[in-house]
Symmetry: C2
Subunit: 113 residues, 2 copies
């Protein structure tokens, strides 16, 4: 599994560009951050990526989780964010169903996990 590793020095807009590109290509996006500064940059990147993707009809959501990782022999707690497309907010049931169809055609690799 490859992660986008984000540090407190990462540029949120560069990371946002990477997220948007991967989502458009139907690639699974997972971000890893260690420490408050890094988590903050990752969250900013996701918020910016939403702005890149929403004009083309893709709404993304994120799912944070803890992960114990080994950094130079020391166990640290990282935050991992799975970022995925979703098309449901503010839609009627019929519209949602239609989008789910589109969704499963376009994003099969992501939803078939």
């Amino acid at each position: 599994m490859e992660f986008l590793k984000v540090s407190s020095k990462s540029s949120p807009s560069s990371v946002a560009g990477a997220i948007a590109g991967m989502i458009k290509d139907g690639v699974h996006v997972e971000i890893q951050s260690v420490g408050a500064g890094a988590v903050n940059q990752a969250v900013k990147a996701i918020a910016i990526a939403r702005g890149f993707l929403s004009p083309i009809g893709i709404e993304i959501v994120c799912i944070p989780a803890f992960a114990d990782i080994d950094i130079d022999g020391e166990i640290r707690t990282a935050i991992r964010f799975v970022v995925e497309p979703r098309f449901m907010r503010g839609l009627t049931a019929a519209e949602r169903e239609e989008y789910m169809q589109l969704d499963s055609q376009r994003y099969q690799p992501i939803f078939s996990e």
Copy 2:
């Protein structure tokens, strides 16, 4: 609009308990954090809340956005997280459709925004 205001000194597990309770009650959840330490505590709270809710079949996702807020006459950039239930990961198309039905019955206030 009421927000759960999270600071760098907030306890992630207390905030997680509040999130889980609101989600179970079908209440719209929106968290506001200013600064890296506060954003980090908010993300930890969401990750912990996932652990409270997933055993009862509720999976939550979060949607981060920027917001300019006024703190004592000074404009600061806050991060706001909308936290919402979702039931779709790893399901077949038929299962997803079934859950969407349940979903719209149980969480009408959230999805009718």
